[in-house]
Symmetry: C2
Subunit: 322 residues, 2 copies
């Protein structure tokens, strides 16, 4: 983050703070402390039957919707296929939840393909809308599925969080990929999509390569990398999106089969909102099953210990029937 | 990590890999996949009664000891007060476990003060021993307490992991603190210990200040910072160590009271093994209670969302009776 936001209050209560020595940025977000299961004792979780705020009929349990794709009904009424609402416990003002389906029992992996494609289209529509706010520099689309991955609500949803600055680690990646690209003349991720060895390939479609990355931080970390160069996810057209939806579902189903439906995090890495198309940055989807715990070594050093060689993960995932 | 280790095989099976674009390093450690509870299904944890490998009488359950402090007995026999053994599932060759007490029911927070001081002394002795191996550049001493923090064994223990290179994030911190120090003429951490506002102070002893850091990544993240400048933890003398043991236990007990005995990670941040005393780096202890889950946003951006303002954490911890 730029120094200009140090200590500045962004949301009513959220605040960016940059460590004066390392430059590491955090968001202090006391509004999030009110979430239903925040800090609840993990040893004594009793899942009381609560109504699901994301199910049709319970629209009043969320803040008013920002967007919906509907077959019937008016805003904040049933009849929607996909619904976007502000996060009730926002870390920042631009913190949205995309409710992917009215069906409480479906997940992104097993919903009908056209629905999955429409979810991806919805992500694109929200990115395009947020881009029009020139104060927003960066947006991350991410999913925490399963309690072990940080989810507090079971009903299938993805989150979108937009920031007034480009995060430090993203800046570093942008800089590193630019200098690599300027030296080699080729986008490093294009090279990755084309040249990843067979031993780390999970599957291929016309437009996408699914790989276990060379330096995977986590066991079974899996990336979906577009074969055609593009820095911004929301520039992908309709045909590409249908292809992506199929590959994304196929990948999630393979992970579910191989690992018995693990909790996972997903993040769509895409170029900064206000950046023009970049020659040497490449959007992609990263999927991180949450199989191992992160401990003091990782917090202390920033080095991740991954007990599963990426080649083994790719072998297991590529062998799974989707 | 230096590029020289990219892809190099360090342990029999462990391997450093550096992401070709970002420079981010990981350790691929398939030996660790054999740990008893690795990838076990968290939804159906059945804690079968196993014998504790760290209890007296079960010394044969661990690899032969590297060091012990004893009242009686020979190596790998009962009679020890503290015992250091190689990690049975090492991420790297220099991966040790310091068993802090023969008593299965004691923790670092509640053992007698002289025992806690002896544990710290043992850490120092191991650091000094590893420094004599010139191939080892960096060592981290860390503790994962509680299953939620990554611990697989309940009996009180700390780990020590030494690396053939200084991790990337530590290099960045060394560089940042050096350039800050050269510009200001004062070590940034000395300034932090002396000038932290009352609102972020938890407690003070003669030699140490306990604070909630300004840009805390995690709720109730707490640092123990020595008031006197020193870059290497193992240069602290006996009196300082007794003071530190008291402050450390006091801090842990306050955290236990305030948060009902949470899982936590602890890491001793100390200068690289082979570095001379550094004017602008400062050793310290970081304690991270594991209260919230890390999700897709954090993995994707490197930015942590902390729902507890450090000032609130400090207020709660400073008010706790120790």
């Amino acid at each position: 983050m730029a120094g200009g936001h140090d200590g500045g209050i962004i949301a009513d209560l959220s605040e960016f703070r940059t460590d004066p020595i390392t430059g590491r940025t955090v968001i202090i977000a006391p509004e999030r402390a009110g979430r239903p299961n925040e800090f609840q004792n993990r040893r004594a979780v009793s899942r009381t039957a609560r109504i699901c705020a994301f199910c049709p009929g319970n629209e009043k349990e969320t803040p008013p919707e920002i967007l919906s794709y509907r077959d019937a009904g008016r805003a904040d009424e049933p009849g929607w296929r996909i619904r976007v609402v502000p996060n009730k416990y926002p870390a920042l003002p631009a913190h949205e939840v995309i409710i992917e389906t009215p069906d409480h029992n479906l997940t992104l992996a097993d919903m009908p393909l056209p629905q999955a494609a429409e979810v991806l289209h919805c992500f694109q529509e929200r990115l395009a809308a947020l881009r029009r706010n020139e104060r927003l520099q960066f947006a991350t689309i991410f999913k925490n599925q399963g309690e072990g991955a940080g989810a507090t609500i079971e009903h299938a949803h993805t989150q979108l969080l937009a920031l007034p600055d480009v995060p430090w680690s993203i800046r570093q990646e942008l800089e590193a990929s630019r200098s690599d690209g300027e030296a080699s003349g080729v986008c490093a991720y294009c090279r990755m999509a084309r040249q990843a060895p067979e031993s780390r390939r999970v599957l291929d479609s016309e437009g996408f390569t699914v790989i276990s990355p060379y330096a995977a931080r986590f066991p079974f970390e899996t990336w979906i990398v577009p074969k055609d160069h593009g820095s911004h996810f929301d520039a992908v057209g309709g045909e590409g999106l249908a292809d992506l939806a199929g590959v994304f579902q196929d990948t999630l189903r393979r992970i579910n089969r191989a690992l018995e439906g693990p909790a996972y995090n997903m993040v769509i890495q895409t170029a900064p909102l206000q950046a023009p198309p970049l020659a040497y940055y490449h959007w992609r989807i990263e999927i991180i099953p949450r199989l191992n715990k992160i401990g003091g070594f990782e917090w202390g050093t920033g080095v991740y210990i991954n007990p599963t060689p990426p080649e083994e993960a790719a072998r297991r995932l590529s062998g799974e029937e989707a």
